[in-house]
Symmetry: C2
């Protein structure tokens, strides 16, 4: 690891302290004469940027910033948003060098900040620990560039890829360690989404209850024609918000207490999942875990609306049964999109395969 | 690793030199006064046992065996087979101590050798590196106890467990590294088996041609009613023996040159796979790789006739398509048998999952 990478790693550690979505997580470190003179991070949505906090920290420590080097995991902004442009501050303080992790995917910035600094004679290095920087702000990047939540598809399946028998029996395919990890995934997502069939067959709680400190996601059920029966746990248990997604054709229907209702456009065959995604962003659902069933999972794959796949594979052969994406159809095998195998986690005899879609 | 385990490991290294199936691979080391005085291994089927070779080696080296310790990965035999009992030799030579890796699964021995030695006051330690010893002789153990080949089921599949589209298109699901490893599996097996459908759709060579030093397995195709067309590579390319398995009901049919024909009993629905296995043992097929398609794979799973599963998983979602075991049916998910996850091998974005059935 180079010196610059080490400092950038510390920026990332700082950045993670912020709870800022849909803003990016940003950490900033200012160095002068080989030592750290200021640190800062973006603390909350709409609040001062990491660079501002770091500059103020350096000044509080009694330092002059002239000739200093500023490290930041995301390109400094060059536009007036909720705060003035950080590039102007950097220029004003006569900082000599800026080291950047990744360019800002926000189309309002997208390289303009870097160009502005370089135009003022400031030395700018980019792409330091770039993949880690991108990983940290993957949700922000997806939200800002695609106007939709970061989407994770999750299945619990047998070796032969079955999520249930034909009779929908599917309880406890995977082991307890897998289920705990699945609940951790729930905790790091803002929302969890399933289809009506799964809601009715499994009557799930959709909580992260196996976690020590569960942070329950918002529960979202696609129920296009409002056929869900009442009495399901998602309506009665108050563990989290429950949102029912239905066709916007339906008006003036009877709503179950314990749920919110959001109408979504229909396209030819089903609900328009792109419209659904836009609506979820409005509800502050920036990351979404999709847990099935096959119709729901297939819909998101068909539209290319996913960023990661988690397949929890139990050491069993099920044979005839339900496949997770069986409503998705390729006409040629060469058209199957190659995903990137990201992580492989062994949990006793279960194995968890995590893929990225890029 | 204890001292005894280190010596046992060397016994296993010696044992591996033998090409002895359907006999077990056995290595033997004799120690006296803290040093190795004799070594031997079972060289070929029907030849002298490892213990005999080690005793002779010690004598050639000018040693008296009285009071020595003998290490061997498999329990010494106590019966007259192709050679006299090794226990008698050990007793005659006044060896004081015997360290054994695993008891002999051969029902003619199965602990009798150890009891006989102990009955003569010889100290016997068992179970040293037992799992490695069992692993080394897994084919022998299966052949001797189950009277069938050691069977490996192999699939090349997508994340969602599909081996082909509905139209049977399946070429190149996995990457070149996976295909090379699959060819290594072919090389270590005596036989490779597929069903008629796969033979016709894919017209495969079933060779280990991607290996640097390919050892091609015997090619076996199940063609119950002798419907296979001629002109397939397995009939014409002479790369290895080809055996056609058909119902023994059929007599006096026309045989294609380039193949041998073996009739197998029929049961209610299909060929009797247990009878098939017995017939393969007669053909010296002690290890068998089953490569599909789903009807063939499902048949072996239904009968519980398998020892290992290799799932080569490509980083793709296929959706609708053919599942590897779709002709096998469970009535309850709790009846799915738990396999043991043995090895996980990452090959770029492919992942290979190896399971044991025990």
């Amino acid at each position: 690891m180079t010196f610059e990478e080490k400092i950038m790693k510390n920026c990332l550690t700082l950045a993670k302290k912020g709870k800022v979505l849909p803003n990016p997580m940003v950490g900033c470190i200012i160095m002068k004469d080989g030592k750290v003179i200021g640190k800062g991070y973006h603390k909350q949505f709409g609040g001062p940027h990491a660079e501002v906090n770091a500059v103020n920290d350096a000044k509080m420590n009694g330092y002059n910033l002239k000739g200093a080097a500023l490290f930041v995991n995301l390109e400094p902004c060059s536009h007036y948003g909720k705060t003035p442009p950080c590039t102007d501050l950097i220029i004003k303080e006569q900082i000599k060098e800026v080291v950047v992790g990744m360019t800002d995917p926000n189309p309002l910035v997208a390289g303009k900040g870097i160009r502005k600094l370089r135009g003022k004679g400031i030395k700018v290095t980019t792409g330091v620990l770039e993949s880690q920087c991108r990983e940290l702000n993957r949700v922000f990047t997806t939200v800002i560039t695609q106007k939709r939540p970061y989407i994770i598809l999750k299945t619990a399946q047998s070796i032969d890829g079955k999520i249930a028998l034909d009779n929908f029996s599917s309880k406890w395919i995977t082991n307890i360690k897998s289920r705990k990890l699945a609940h951790e995934l729930r905790s790091i997502c803002d929302g969890i989404l399933i289809g009506r069939n799964t809601a009715e067959k499994d009557n799930p709680e959709l909580t992260a209850r196996l976690n020590r400190r569960p942070k329950n996601p918002v529960r979202i059920v696609i129920d296009k024609d409002l056929k869900l029966g009442k009495g399901l746990k998602i309506f009665t248990d108050k563990a989290s918000r429950t949102i029912i997604i239905h066709s916007s054709k339906h008006k003036g229907f009877r709503k179950y207490p314990g749920a919110e209702y959001i109408g979504v456009r229909e396209n030819k065959y089903a609900l328009d999942l792109n419209d659904l995604c836009r609506k979820l962003i409005k509800e502050k659902i920036y990351s979404l875990l999709i847990e099935g069933g096959s119709k729901t999972l297939s819909g998101f794959v068909k539209e290319g609306l996913f960023d990661e796949v988690y397949a929890f594979v139990a050491p069993k052969i099920i044979g005839r049964g339900i496949s997770p994406y069986q409503d998705f159809k390729l006409d040629r095998i060469t058209k199957a999109k190659e995903l990137i195998l990201n992580k492989v986690i062994r949990l006793d005899n279960d194995i968890v395969l995590n893929y990225k879609n890029k």
